[in-house]
């Protein structure tokens, strides 16, 4: 049936991997779909870990002056929670979507550099493992000269400087032990992974679009991938260097951020947020992309103001580079800088508003099918706007000096991160479920998940606004009974457990539907973009013939015409078209050459954590082994062609 060429063996120094099933097929794969799926599962795993850490935090905070956790444990937990959620959960889940969907949406057979793609994934995995190995190898303790009443437990021996590791607290003197080194080096490794995938996606989008897929015909999700890749490409280098400085400060006696040697702790804030703010748009833009796909499909209307949404996305990305110091309003920045950054921050509301209004314009007058993906997308709009508006209240600098470092901020960023990014991601997970697995998920369970999560979410993060304004300071292990904050803290904790429950519902749905779900029809949502014009689950070769794209939402226009009133009318040929497409998609007419699997990405990637350990344990031997792995990986890579024989 399939006419995939058997890879010719040899031609390289090592024998190429050739398994098509089983664990080796995953380890050596360079297929963007498999990589996407692995990204997804790994990220979801970390999401659960990060969530568990959050639950632990919440238990501690449910009582004033609680001693469920020690101070060291609490600090490690919120640091790992934030770091995990941002770098190991949301970013890689977005990467999962990019990987799986991007080539499909632009009609390509794979990304521009398939092996780099695998490399990026494995670096991410090793980075995550490296970071989490801090619980085994890491150490933490009281600042130099300070005293602790009890040993730091394994739970407390994780990074504890907060997810933005403000200096000098995260420096060696005030955070002794190796935990913060794990953090700095772990983020360094994860950054490399994201940077590589950013190059890959940018090149892919520029150069691999199928015939007729002009820029202004690309789906919005692809556009947002493009924007995110730029943000990554231009912001990660900054944090990479800053993390180098931290590593040097902690291990090699320099003092980039330490006043004793003439350094400047506020420089770290600048460098971190120069990356950190673009980072938050890195987290949200993929969700914007997903929602922009889901809303039109389930409204049975084209996206309102396609061009405006695209440009607004880039506007956000661009302005997002000019607002970083709004995280430093209370810091030692000048008054002029406060005013300037306050204004630039407000400006971001404009392009974001454009998006929100265009989404509303999309559903307005539509024929809304309230399936689970649609519910999550609608929920996304509602929840994100709350977070966005509280963001605007932060940009009012004097008001922010009251809010900053309180739970009001915690509320803001969970509304945008959870209510925004996570809702968008869940929407996408349901939406493309049939595409990926060829099965339908269970709609009832999906809806239960949505409503539980919506309620739990608001119970968790809604009261935090109030708590913050009432003076609950973030990153506090205990709060005094006299501050009268207990009542709402209990509610918050209850809410967190409701979220946990909703996630259990999601997992049940996923596992059972994937195994026993109904077989998905060819085009279950009557969708608009070309990834739905190929069979589900996607065949390994994606498109058996190159799609020739003639318009925006090409697939929709091949099914529907507009009558004189402008209403959609299904073409009489549509049903036959779908049958033909399925037939064609499953049986390629010509030989298809796919990139061959390779061992080298994982070999190369495995060298990086060893370099990390080498710094931490001050071991030349480890460094040598790491370098050897990297070199042999690169050498094998360099001598092995992407695909054999043609």
């Amino acid at each position: 049936m399939t006419k995939i060429l058997e890879p010719k063996k040899q031609n390289s120094i090592f024998r190429r991997p050739s398994s098509e099933t089983g664990i080796w097929s995953w380890i050596t794969t360079v297929d963007h779909k498999k990589i996407g799926i692995m990204y997804g599962y790994a990220a979801f795993f970390f999401l659960l870990i990060g969530g568990l850490e959050a639950l632990v935090l919440r238990i501690q905070l449910s009582q004033p002056d609680n001693n469920f956790l020690s101070a060291a444990e609490y600090n490690a937990m919120f640091t790992m929670h934030g770091t995990t959620m941002i770098f190991l959960a949301i970013m890689p889940i977005s990467a999962a979507f990019f990987n799986y969907l991007l080539p499909l949406q632009i009609g390509a057979r794979d990304v521009a550099f398939p092996r780099l793609n695998a490399l990026s994934f494995w670096i991410f995995i090793f980075g995550g493992i490296f970071l989490y190995s801090t619980f085994i190898f890491g150490t933490a303790g009281a600042p130099e000269g300070g005293y602790l009443d009890e040993e730091v437990s394994w739970l407390g021996s994780a990074p504890n400087g907060g997810w933005f590791g403000y200096q000098p607290n995260a420096g060696l003197k005030y955070s002794p032990g190796t935990a913060m080194d794990f953090w700095a080096l772990g983020l360094q490794i994860l950054g490399i992974a994201s940077l590589i995938s950013a190059f890959n996606f940018i090149t892919t989008i520029i150069n691999m679009r199928t015939k007729g897929m002009r820029f202004m015909r690309m789906p919005v999700f692809t556009w947002m991938t493009f924007a995110v890749s730029f943000l990554l490409a231009f912001s990660l280098p900054i944090i990479a260097i800053a993390l180098f400085y931290v590593t040097f400060d902690r291990n090699f006696g320099t003092s980039f951020f330490l006043v004793e040697g003439g350094g400047d702790p506020v420089l770290w804030q600048h460098l971190f947020w120069l990356f950190g703010h673009p980072e938050v748009y890195i987290l949200i833009l993929p969700a914007f992309g997903i929602v922009s796909e889901v809303l039109p499909t389930f409204s049975r209307k084209p996206l309102f103001g396609y061009a405006a949404i695209v440009f607004a996305g880039f506007g956000i990305a661009f302005i997002g580079f000019g607002v970083w110091a709004h995280h430093m309003f209370a810091s030692s920045i000048s008054t002029v800088a406060q005013a300037g950054f306050g204004l630039s921050t407000m400006v971001i509301a404009v392009p974001t508003g454009v998006k929100i209004f265009n989404w509303l314009g999309t559903i307005w007058g539509g024929k809304l099918k309230l399936n689970t993906p649609m519910l999550f997308s609608l929920g996304f709009i509602g929840m994100f706007v709350i977070g966005g508006l509280s963001g605007v209240t932060h940009s009012i600098v004097p008001a922010d000096t009251q809010q900053t470092d309180t739970y009001y901020i915690v509320a803001h960023f969970h509304y945008v991160l959870f209510g925004g990014a996570m809702f968008g991601i869940f929407s996408g997970l349901y939406y493309w479920f049939p595409k990926v697995w060829g099965k339908m998920y269970n709609e009832t369970l999906g809806k239960i998940h949505f409503w539980l999560m919506l309620i739990g979410f608001n119970l968790t993060f809604g009261p935090m606004h109030w708590l913050g304004l009432q003076g609950q300071v973030r990153r506090t292990w205990v709060y005094a009974k006299e501050t009268n904050l207990q009542f709402w803290n209990v509610i918050v904790t209850i809410g967190a457990f409701i979220i946990a429950l909703s996630i259990v519902v999601f997992m049940i749905n996923w596992i059972f539907s994937k195994r026993n779900g109904e077989k998905a029809p060819f085009d279950p949502w009557d969708a608009r973009t070309i990834e739905w014009s190929i069979p589900s689950p996607t065949p390994v070769w994606n498109f058996s013939t190159a799609p020739n794209v003639k318009s925006l939402d090409d697939f929709w226009h091949s099914k529907y015409d507009e009558d004189e009133e402008g209403r959609a009318v299904r073409k009489p040929t549509a049903d036959q078209l779908l049958i033909d497409l399925e037939e064609d998609g499953l049986n390629p007419k010509e030989e298809i050459i796919l990139p061959n699997p390779s061992y080298f990405p994982i070999v190369l990637a495995s060298g990086l954590p060893l370099l990390g350990y080498a710094v931490i344990f001050k071991s030349i031997a480890l460094a040598v082994v790491g370098v050897i792995l990297i070199l042999s990986g690169s050498f094998g890579w360099g001598t092995e062609p992407l695909e054999e024989g043609h």
């Binding site: 231009f234 400047d264 506020v266 420089l267 600048h270 120069l274 580079f321 000019g322 030692s332 920045i333």
Partner: protein
């Protein structure tokens, strides 16, 4: 698939360009030694020369002159972005109340 609209220069041209670069470098070093005479113009002049050399290498040796617009925009975009961001950081830090 490298396709440039303008044909690439000849080796002779490249050598000429290299000579220009060499001369500019010599001027830079000379400027360093004549700082007393040139005074406050030294720094701006040095920066201008560096930019000049930069542009020559990027434009001719890296063929950016002959390259596709998209590539061009990228590179200059990255450049401009970096310049603006880092200028702000430097000015901001220069105004802090160190003691």
């Amino acid at each position: 698939m490298s396709n440039s609209h303008l044909s690439h220069p000849t080796p002779k041209k490249y050598v000429q360009i290299a000579i220009v670069l060499g001369v500019l470098t010599a001027i830079e070093v000379a400027l360093y030694y004549t700082e007393e005479i040139v005074g406050s113009f030294t720094a701006p002049l040095l920066v201008t020369l560096a930019i000049g050399k930069f542009v020559i290498v990027v434009g001719w040796f890296m063929h950016l002159r002959f390259e596709n617009k998209t590539v061009n925009r990228f590179f200059t975009g990255g450049m401009i972005l970096a310049l603006i961001l880092f200028a702000i950081v430097m000015f901001e830090r220069a105004s802090a109340n160190y003691f």
